[in-house]
C-alpha cells in the first residue's frame, strides 16, 4: 500500500485556470472547471501539462486519481474549436499545419502521460463527453458514467478524425462495430450503450458518478502498489505507433479548405444538433 508513504516534492494542491487538483489519503482528485464545458485548447492543455509534470512527486504517495468535471453540462465537450478556428484563420495553410502538428504533439504527450500514469485513473463522467473529452476519458483506466451521460466522436462532420488519440485508444478497448458506428454516423450514445460496448466500467445513478468513482478509488488504495503498476503496464499497453500515424493523418486532413469551412459553420451555427452534419428540417406537421 502507498498510503503510509510520504513525498516531500508532491504538489498536493493546485488551482489553475482550467482545472484544480487536491490530494487526500492516497487519492488525487482532478477537477476540470473551464467555461463553457472544459473545452481542450491552449489553456486546458497548459494546466494538464502542469498536472502530468506533478506525477513524479505524487506517484510515491498516490494509488488512484479521479478525473471529474465541475461544469454542470458534462465532462468535456472536446477540443476548443472556436479557438482553433480563430487562431488558424489568419495563418497561411503551411503555418496552420505546422501549428496544428505542434499542438497535437503537446496534447499527445499529455494524453500518453495520463495513460501511463503511475496510479489508477478513473474518469467520473456526467452529461456530455464528446470528441477530445471522450479521448481524455479514454486515457483513464476506468470510466464511471452517470446514466444520463452521452459519448460521441463527431469529428468526421468537420472533415477530420479524432486527433487526441481517440481511434487507437478506442481500438484498444472496444470492438470495431461500436467504433465504426460512432465514427461513421457521428451519433452520440447513452451511458448504458457505452457500458454494453465495454467503454464504461460502472454506471452510476443520475448525479452519483463522482461518488461511485471515489468509492472505486478507495478500493484501489487497498492493493500493493508495485503489483498495481505492473498489472497496469501489462493490461494497458500504449499504442504509440498508431498514435503517431493518427497525428500524420489528422494533419493531412486538416490542411484542406473543407476543414476551415466546417469549423466556420460549427462556430457560427445555432443548430441544436451541431455535432451532426447539416441536415434539412424533417418536420411532418
Amino acid at each position: 500500500m502507498s498510503k503510509g508513504r510520504t513525498s516531500r516534492n508532491a504538489v498536493k494542491e493546485f488551482r489553475g485556470e482550467a482545472l484544480r487538483w487536491e490530494w487526500r489519503d492516497a487519492v488525487v482528485e482532478l477537477t476540470l472547471d473551464f467555461e463553457p464545458l472544459n473545452e481542450i485548447g491552449t489553456v486546458m492543455l497548459a494546466d494538464l501539462e502542469k498536472f502530468v509534470a506533478a506525477f513524479d512527486g505524487l506517484a510515491p504517495i498516490t494509488s488512484a486519481c479521479v478525473i471529474a468535471s465541475a461544469r454542470p453540462g458534462g465532462f468535456c465537450a472536446g477540443a476548443n474549436l472556436k479557438e482553433l478556428y480563430q487562431d488558424a484563420l489568419p495563418l497561411s495553410p503551411k503555418k496552420r499545419a505546422a501549428g496544428m502538428r505542434a499542438f497535437l504533439k503537446r496534447i499527445h504527450a499529455v494524453m500518453n502521460a495520463l495513460d501511463a500514469a503511475p496510479f489508477v485513473t478513473i474518469a467520473a463522467v456526467h452529461g456530455l463527453c464528446m470528441g477530445g473529452g471522450l479521448e481524455l476519458a479514454l486515457v483513464c483506466d476506468l470510466i464511471v458514467a452517470d446514466k444520463m451521460a452521452r459519448f460521441g466522436f463527431p469529428e468526421l462532420r468537420l472533415g477530420l478524425i479524432p486527433g487526441f488519440g481517440g481511434i487507437p485508444r478506442l481500438r484498444r478497448d472496444v470492438g470495431n462495430g461500436f467504433i465504426r458506428d460512432l465514427l461513421f454516423t457521428g451519433r452520440t450514445v447513452k451511458a448504458e450503450s457505452a457500458q454494453q460496448a465495454g467503454l464504461v466500467s460502472h454506471l452510476a445513478g443520475e448525479g452519483y458518478a463522482l461518488q461511485v468513482a471515489r468509492s472505486m478509488a478507495q478500493q484501489v488504495t487497498k492493493f500493493d502498489a508495485e503489483t498495481r503498476v505492473a498489472a497496469k503496464k501489462f493490461l494497458k499497453p500504449i499504442p504509440y505507433q498508431e498514435l503517431r500515424k493518427e497525428i500524420d493523418l489528422f494533419c493531412t486532413l486538416f490542411n484542406r479548405p473543407v476543414v476551415m469551412e466546417s469549423l466556420r459553420r460549427f462556430v457560427e451555427t445555432d443548430d441544436p444538433m451541431k455535432h451532426l452534419p447539416v441536415a434539412e428540417r424533417a418536420r411532418n406537421s
Binding site: L37, T188, K190, H275
Partner: protein, 80 residues
C-alpha cells in the same frame, strides 16, 4: 406494445416534468425547441431521458431536424 398516442403522451409528460411546466401546457404539435427553449446540450439531455424512459437507442441523426413532439413520437415508436 404502446400505441403512438401513448408514446406521445409519455413524451409530453416527461418533458413537462423535466422542464417543470404546468400540467397540460404541451401538445403534440408544439415545436419543442421554441416551447422549451432548449439548446444543444439540453437537446442531448432530453434524448438521453427519452432513451432511458423507453429503453431504446434513438440515434441523434434520426431526430435531427425534428422539432415537434408528434414526429418525435413517431421516431421513438419505430424503435420500440
Amino acid at each position: 406494445m404502446r400505441t403512438l398516442e401513448q408514446t406521445t403522451r409519455e413524451i409530453l409528460d416527461l418533458a413537462t416534468k423535466q422542464f417543470k411546466l404546468p400540467e397540460g401546457s404541451l401538445s403534440a404539435g408544439d415545436d419543442f425547441y421554441k416551447k422549451l427553449g432548449i439548446d444543444s446540450l439540453q437537446t442531448l439531455d432530453l434524448l438521453s431521458r427519452l432513451e432511458n424512459h423507453f429503453n431504446i437507442e434513438l440515434p441523434d441523426y434520426e431526430v435531427q431536424g425534428v422539432s415537434d413532439f408528434k414526429t418525435l413520437a413517431e421516431r421513438i415508436q419505430a424503435r420500440l
